[in-house]
């Protein structure tokens, strides 16, 4: 553990360089503070900088690492510096895919139909709530890849617009 190791921590659109120094301290930001990190139980750490301390909990794989400290919780992506960002696992919001597993309850459009941005294309039901899937832009429906009653997963597009 002698050499310094560099990482990039991404949260949403921001990327922060984080270095693990030879003595085990962790520097956050290019010229940022150095923190001493002590594990207190699996997934729980006390992080200290000078006289200040924080309690931080961590769980999950590097590309979807959950971090919580009092009042703030987020999912970040931790990669060694120089390595490409991990592919996003969550469906991009506003795309024509299911945002979460659910059942198709209604397909409101047909192939060849002209739609405008914001039109409801289909309606999913998940966790007892209806979730409308809306057109992200104007266009023509070129394919419909689901039918009412289908159980669908996030990922593949359910409708295509050209």
């Amino acid at each position: 553990m002698a050499a310094t190791r560099r990482f990039i921590v991404r949260q949403g659109d921001s990327a922060t360089p984080v270095e693990v120094l030879a003595d085990g301290r962790v520097r956050v930001g290019a010229q940022g503070d150095e923190f001493a990190v002590t594990a207190v139980s699996p997934g729980e750490y006390i992080v200290a900088c000078g006289l200040r301390t924080w309690r931080v909990a961590v769980a999950g794989p590097p590309e979807a690492r959950w971090v919580g400290s009092p009042g703030a919780t987020a999912c970040v992506d931790v990669q060694p510096e120089g390595q490409a960002r991990a592919p996003r696992t969550r469906a991009v919001h506003g795309a024509l895919a299911a945002p979460m597993p659910g059942t198709v309850v209604d397909v409101a459009v047909g192939v060849g139909q002209q739609v405008r941005a914001g039109d409801v294309l289909l309606t999913l039901e998940a966790m007892k709530m209806e979730l409308p899937i809306r057109a992200p832009r104007d266009g023509v429906v070129s394919a419909i890849r689901c039918a009412p009653g289908d159980l669908v997963q996030p990922g593949p597009p359910l409708v295509e617009i050209t």
Binding site: G12, A36, C49, A57, A59, G60, G68, S69, A72, P99
Partner: protein
């Protein structure tokens, strides 16, 4: 006499009831769907019965299978919790026909209050004020549209059979009417198996104040004061408290009197809640009957805290034929209690419900804090059920102290693995409107959007995120270490 209770529910409410039975020396039976094998409520029961596939219609709503399980396991009573079969009069009747005690009101009272048409008529006759509206006898689109025009905009279209915001639409004008009718009808059918719709004028910025009532089979009926549930998002309660900041002693007495009259009018027994909408505040405020929830409520711990009672114990005793354990004169509100509901939903993407595994779970523990949770670390939040993870209830001497206590508890509530509404709840608790007691039912929908912003992680949290990666890497790079507790390698991280 009740010796063994089957709890026909899951999650936090199943645990709450199972624990109450344990405390009274009553045997317990849990039921579970395939999605809940190994769930906390299954482990907490003396006996557990698998009832079917994950979709509620094949498990927690499958009344016949649940009754069969109860008979096979030797139960003498069924507690339905809330949701699922709790307000299903046919299920309550079926229990009785099978020789089982239904821990709740008589089927006739559920039916009378379950239909908004009959509930309104009954309330009008009992002298309880009601909001202008109707359930058209002819349920065709044209007839519902005509009823909507009679009530006037803005209005609500709701499922006659339901509650909890499911199958409910706000319509502000002619333009959205047709879409709202078909949407409400579909959701009503899916959630309650009954797509009868009800149309009602929407009051301007009312508060939601409900009265807890309790009646026994010996003519006893009391109220246990109010809960103010005005902090709602799209008609889903987010924060509940008692006493209500809007009530004066005079108004409280009038509303409580109306609630007890409502309960007596339907021959009510066991725990129930009469919900009112309140326009204005103080002695001049007007209140209107909204609906009666013929069951234990999600927010019952708020009442338990301020009144110093155990409502589930009382439910079990009254269902067994005993008299109410309290007299009205012996009940008092002590201090202030406030509850918030922690949901697996993402405030940064329009509160989309979230499913997934809870990777790490640390719940707050401090004086005056109660946490009713349905999950443990490793639990899966399933797409099939409600996304509520836990309720956090704070009790203190004053309203300000209770809010401070709830805030502190929520800050240290750590749930990793899926987004929760905790940052949003903290922002609501910090808002001047909530602090001053001025929140009405429209507040969160109209002014709460700015409260959903993301709180950035402190730099220290990023340091721990990286150290955690490094610890895992160091462990896997050194094969023999894997055979030891991986955490023995961590002293290397001491600074």
């Amino acid at each position: 006499m009740i010796r063994k209770v089957l709890v026909a529910n899951r999650g936090e409410i199943a645990l709450r009831i199972l624990r109450a039975c344990d405390e009274l020396g009553i045997g317990t039976i849990a039921v579970y769907s395939d999605a809940d094998a190994g769930a906390p409520h299954v482990l907490a029961a003396g006996h557990a019965v698998r009832i079917g596939a994950p979709p509620p219609a094949e498990s927690y709503l499958a009344g016949a299978r649940i009754i069969e399980a109860a008979r096979a396991a030797g139960a003498d009573a069924i507690h339905p919790g809330y949701g699922f079969l709790a307000e299903n009069a046919a299920f309550a009747s079926a229990c009785q026909e099978a020789g089982l005690i239904f821990i709740g009101p008589p089927p006739a009272a559920i039916a009378a209050m379950g239909s908004k048409i009959s509930a309104r008529r009954l309330m009008e006759r009992a002298g309880v004020p009601v909001v202008p509206g109707e359930t058209p006898a002819d349920q065709s689109d044209a007839s519902i549209e005509a009823a909507a025009r009679r009530a006037g905009f803005p209005l609500l279209i709701k499922a006659s059979a339901g509650g909890g915001g499911k199958g409910m639409r706000i319509v502000r004008g002619e333009a959205g009417l047709a879409a709202a009718i078909s949407g409400a009808r579909h959701e009503a059918k899916a959630a309650f198996g009954d797509d009868t719709l009800y149309v009602e004028r929407l009051l301007t910025r009312p508060r939601h104040v409900e009265i807890q009532v309790f009646a026994d089979a010996h003519g006893g009926a009391v109220h246990l004061f109010e809960r103010d549930c005005s902090t709602q998002r799209r008609h889903q309660k987010v924060i509940e408290e008692s006493p209500s900041p809007a009530l004066t002693p005079g108004l409280r007495a009038r509303m409580a009197g109306a609630a007890v009259a409502a309960a007596r009018a339907v021959g009510y027994r066991n725990a129930g809640t009469v919900e009112f909408l309140l326009e204005g505040a103080g002695d001049d405020a007007r209140f209107y009957f909204l609906e009666m929830n013929t069951r234990l409520q999600v927010e019952h711990p708020v009442t338990e805290a301020v009144a110093g009672v155990d409502l589930v114990h009382a439910q079990l005793r009254v269902a067994a034929g005993h008299e109410l354990p309290w007299t009205q004169a012996g009940l008092h509100q002590r201090g202030h209690a406030i509850e918030c509901r922690v949901y697996a939903e993402d405030p940064s993407t329009g509160f989309l419900p979230q499913a997934g595994r809870i990777l790490l779970y640390r719940q707050p523990e401090r004086p005056g804090i109660r946490v009713d949770a349905g999950v443990v670390e490793g639990s899966e939040v399933s797409v099939h059920y409600d996304p509520m993870i836990a309720k956090v209830i704070a009790h203190a001497e004053t309203r300000d102290a209770a809010i401070d206590r709830l805030r502190a508890a929520l800050s240290e509530f750590c749930i990793l693995g899926l987004p929760t509404n905790i940052p949003f709840l903290l922002a609501v608790l910090d808002s001047p409107a909530l602090r001053s007691g001025a929140v009405d039912t429209a507040y969160l929908d109209e002014e709460g959007s700015g409260l959903a912003s993301l709180t950035p992680l402190p730099a220290a949290a990023l340091a721990a995120a990286v150290a955690h990666v490094e610890a895992a890497r160091a462990n896997s790079a050194d094969g023999q270490r894997l055979r030891h507790d991986p955490w023995t390698s961590l002293p290397g991280w001491r600074g």
